[in-house]
Symmetry: C2
Subunit: 280 residues, 2 copies
């Protein structure tokens, strides 16, 4: 099932064309997005997602998103949702049409969680490391590279996942050229060792994770240590568990990395999944 | 004026919505494009543009574009064009809609040349150098980064041009972190010194230029030397002329680089512009 709501507070048919060919979102990948998980009618981390949408928009010099209009569109989707308990809710915000009056294009689209994601949540995934071609310091030095913005220009992220599939895996752990861990193409990496959770810093040029933040909040409350620091690929093999976390995939464990089996983290995965759920 | 033709051989209204919100071209910048200059009803370098569209599509693992269908769409636009003598003709090809049958979305859109481009062709431009954050060798080592593919994920290219404008310039010369010249966000860099034209190699992770290739063909025929080799930024200041060339901008001279005036290349520009036009 899919429900589509626009920023003007109306519903639209998701199977009908809505976007003009000269929309900069299509022509140039010039826009930003968020994907929010909704469970039982309640969006998770809505405020952090809307905050991040605004940060991404600012990095692209887009007009500030109309937060109330996005909240209304979210409500409208959820009010009209008659599908399953979980919804993947996508917010999209583009620079609008070429030669237009500068009005951005924006919408909220609710979709079912794909069977593939449901299986990955339950069974875990094999991942491969792929060089993202960036080095520490680049984000600050070259803000026009939009590192850390969740833009619509995700062709590289999609190409990386196809490369993983060619290598018999489902997902990617991006690294710097010198082997420092970054993130997944659509997820944040979290490593567990003992009672410590670790994730790489956003300053490396990656997206601050909303789900990672929620998990860290819950973990800290339960007495875990959490740290944000650079992580070398070699550390992943020595960890008790490696996870790719995102709104829709929740806490997904990586059971195999670059063809090598990681230690069995099924129990640890269950504990972290419970921790994460305890936030809601 | 604008004329829009689809791959099925029909015309469509460019002011009406055509694209679904779940088109991967919009949602993920997951598609490829070309921009072709048409003069007096004849598209320039059509075959090289269609070749490059196919190469870009292959780099993104898209189905091979239907060349005959794109040629038909081009014809249809031009047959129905009643505007000025020059047309900017854009070909777009995306992965299609999510959950669809895999049929790509494709169209040809004819547009007027913008007054801004007309002015830049005549008067030249100020440009700034901006770090593209890539190093030689990355393209071969990490093909999933899609370096050298003309994908719809152009948010960085657009952000770079906005950064140039913030610095009082109109255009960008991307460089490697170590100061080797790459390309413009939507153009190829050509340097002239004596009777030699030089452009950086595509192997650095940049797009092979169709207009640069046409210019080099014409120049060689007229006895110029042409070379494809790495160029340091410092060399640009010592050149007789620096040009950003693309289908729609043709041969545009850079009169100012990073705030410093370059040698007056107005006469040289006129000679190269004539050379380029002699190809048609």
């Amino acid at each position: 099932m899919r429900v589509l709501a626009l920023l003007d507070g109306t519903l639209a048919d998701p199977d009908a064309p809505l976007i003009r060919v000269d929309d900069f979102g299509l022509m140039r990948g010039d826009g930003v997005f968020e994907t929010i998980l909704v469970v039982g009618g309640t969006p998770r981390e809505l405020a952090p997602h809307l905050d991040r949408l605004a940060r991404s928009a600012a990095m692209l010099d887009l007009p500030e998103p109309d937060r109330a209009a996005f909240e209304r569109a979210v409500d409208l989707v959820l009010t009209n949702w008659t599908g399953g308990a979980e919804v993947a809710l996508k917010l999209v915000y583009t620079r609008g049409v070429e030669g237009g009056d500068g009005t951005p294009t924006g919408f909220a689209l609710g979709m079912d969680i794909s069977p593939k994601v449901m299986a990955q949540r339950a069974e875990g995934i094999a991942a491969v490391t792929l060089d993202r071609g960036i080095e520490p310091g680049l984000m600050d030095r070259a803000p026009w590279l939009l590192l850390g913005a969740k833009s619509l220009s995700y062709a590289v992220n999609m190409a990386a996942i196809r490369e993983a599939e060619r290598r018999g895996a489902a997902e990617v752990v991006f690294t710097t050229s010198s082997g420092s861990v970054l993130e997944g193409p659509t997820s944040t990496l979290v490593m567990a060792r003992g009672r410590t959770l670790t994730t790489p810093p956003a300053e490396l040029g990656i997206l601050p994770g909303t789900t990672q933040a929620a998990l860290f909040r819950a973990a800290e409350r339960e007495g875990w240590a959490v740290e944000v620091r650079p992580v070398d690929v070699a550390e992943l093999y020595a960890a008790d568990g490696v996870f790719l976390v995102s709104s829709v995939r929740k806490i997904t464990r990586v059971h195999t990395l670059d063809g090598k089996a990681l230690p069995d983290a099924a129990d640890l995965h269950a504990r972290l999944a419970d921790l994460y759920e305890s936030e809601y």
